[in-house]
Structures are given as structure tokens and as C-alpha cells.
Subunit: 191 residues, 2 copies
């Protein structure tokens, strides 16, 4: 048995990582398999021993992305849940996120998903659910009571990031993000 199992795993993850970034930034159609493979210094031939095809890679990359998202990081013990949540939301609503290499596919792929296959939609729905749960946990709402607030919050932050990406003018982007950061405080009842 040539090539250790770990080697294959590593390669798979390199592919997933390139795919995650490229797909998130440019959507399914604009990215080519070749391009993804070259981004991790491989050629397209190697691709098919790791994934059954492009769409398969897309949904796997989505899962992978959700699994390694910023939101899933553990809270440091020395700060409160609400403080931590504030930090997470500010990072989400930042220019660095909008323009950076760790894009949240929920925002970056919001409209791309609609034309994709069931596996991709399922992965997206799962990630969306998870985001709401994580935020609800940190916000510490009483179950049913204020779930709606969290749902409107996630719609807002996802919308804000998606819109920000369409806009070239940096000042406008700052303005959108700042407005929404402020609104998160209002929704969470911290002002």
C-alpha cells in the first residue's frame, strides 16, 4: 500500500481548502476544477481520486467550511458569553471578513446555492441552522421567546456581508457594516 492514508487525507483537505475559498469567493460556475487543483499545486487528473465530481466537491467544501468556521471557535474562559458574542459579530461585520480569505459561505454563497444540488442545499441549511443555534446559545435567550430576534439578526448580518461584497467603495462598506454592528447591540438588548 503506497502512500500513507494520512497523505491522502492531507491532500483531500488541501483540495477542500482551496475549493472552500474559491467557491465562496466566486461561486460554483466561475470556478474551474483545474483552477482549484492548481491552487494546491496539483493537476486536474488527481482530482477524481478524491471526489466524484465538481458538485460533490462543492457540497463537501461547504460542510468543511462550516466545520472550521470562526463561529465554532471555543469561547475563552475569561470573558462572558455576551462579550464573546459581541466580538464574533464585530468580526463577522468587518471589512476583513468581507474582503478576506476566511469567507462565511452563508453570506458569500447565499444566492449561489439556489441553483445547486440537494447535497449543497442541505449543507447550507445545516450551516445556517448551526449559526442560529450558536448565536442563540451565547445570547442566552429563553428558548422560544426571543428566537425570532436571533433569526432577524442572522438575516441582517448575512445580508450585510453579502451586500458589502458587491460594493467597491470602501466608505460605503464601512457605513453598512457599522450600521449593522450597532443594530446587533439593539437586537441583543445591550443598549
Amino acid at each position: 500500500m503506497p502512500y500513507s492514508q494520512e497523505h491522502k487525507e492531507k491532500t483531500r483537505k488541501k483540495i477542500l481548502n482551496s475549493a472552500r475559498e474559491l467557491f465562496s469567493k466566486r461561486g460554483f460556475d466561475s470556478v474551474t476544477v483545474n483552477e482549484i487543483m492548481e491552487a494546491c499545486s496539483l493537476t486536474r487528473g488527481a482530482f477524481y481520486t478524491h471526489f466524484s465530481g465538481k458538485s460533490n466537491l462543492y457540497s463537501e467544501a461547504l460542510k468543511y467550511s462550516a466545520m472550521n468556521s470562526e463561529l465554532t471557535k471555543k469561547k475563552p474562559k475569561n470573558i462572558s458569553s455576551k462579550q464573546w458574542l459581541s466580538q464574533l459579530l464585530d468580526a463577522y461585520l468587518s471589512v476583513e471578513h468581507v474582503r478576506g480569505e476566511e469567507p462565511c459561505p452563508l453570506a458569500f454563497l447565499a444566492t449561489d446555492i439556489v441553483s445547486r444540488d440537494k447535497a449543497a442545499k442541505d449543507a447550507y441549511a445545516e450551516a445556517y441552522k448551526k449559526m442560529n443555534e450558536i448565536i442563540m446559545d451565547y445570547a442566552g435567550v429563553d428558548a422560544t421567546c426571543k428566537e425570532e430576534n436571533i433569526i432577524s439578526l442572522t438575516s441582517m448580518i448575512i445580508g450585510a456581508v453579502a451586500i458589502s461584497r458587491t460594493i467597491d467603495d470602501r466608505r460605503s462598506v464601512e457605513n453598512i457594516l457599522q450600521s449593522c454592528r450597532q443594530q446587533t447591540r439593539l437586537i441583543l438588548g445591550e443598549i
Copy 2:
């Protein structure tokens, strides 16, 4: 001079209308020129006397869409600005909008725009600005003072519609839309 000028204008509008609907629903790449033309009972050959190419059609359709959007409809005289705004927002945050034939490209194409050309981005930015202005007008805020509230409001409704389209389960969609309808009232200070 064969074919009246109005005939050409009519055809152009038919094409724009098919394009608007198809592009909004499925994005730039998934839609073919052929498909758009067949949707208005023409063949692809006729296309190039009306538009210089597919990307040109895309940006033109975006402008056309913004120009004929629900939001631009005139307010009936017998109701207040705030009442009218409430109606507009409820219609925007409805299943009919999410699943219907009059999609708002701001929500439906939020992430598709990123990979498009400058003309498309400009058209999108223009439509976005207009949406904010219209809502600000109806909400009657004092210029700079609460502009941020409106910006967070538009982020939320655009985000909500975009997310709703990714979700198959009708009950979940209703839940998202209802939560955001409620939040619009809070943001506009009506509760």
C-alpha cells in the same frame, strides 16, 4: 424603413422581461441566451440586434428590473407613508415574493453580482441606493440621524429573502419572514 420603431422597442422589452426573471431566479451563468430568447418566443439569432452580448443584457435587465420594481410604485393618497411602507415591507418579506415571478434582484442576485462586470455592479449599486432612499423617504427620518437604522433594515430584508430562497421547508421560510417582518416594526419604531 420596415418594422416600426415601436415594434423593436416592444421586442427589446420582452427580452428584458424574460431576462430579468430568468437571471434573477438563477443567476448569470445558469441561464443561456437561447433560453431567454425562447422564453419570449424568439430564437437566439434575433438577440444580437438588440444587445451587444449576454453580459450587456444582464446589466440592462438589472436596470430594467430596478426601474419597474414594486418599491417604485406610487403611494395611494388615502394612506399614510408609514402604512404604505409597512405594506411594502410585508410584501417584500412574503412567500409570494420569495417564490414568485417578480423577484427583487437585490436579494436574488446579491452574491451573483460579485463576479460580474462593472456595468452590472454599477446597476446593482444604483438599485441598492435607490431602495434605501425610497424607504428613508417613507420612514421620514431626519436625514443623517437614523439613516443607519434604514441601512440595517435593508440588510435584513435582503438577507432574509436571499436565505429564504435557499430553504425548501415552507414552515422555516414562514418563520424567517415573520421574524423579520416583526423586526422591521421595531426598527421603524412602530412598536
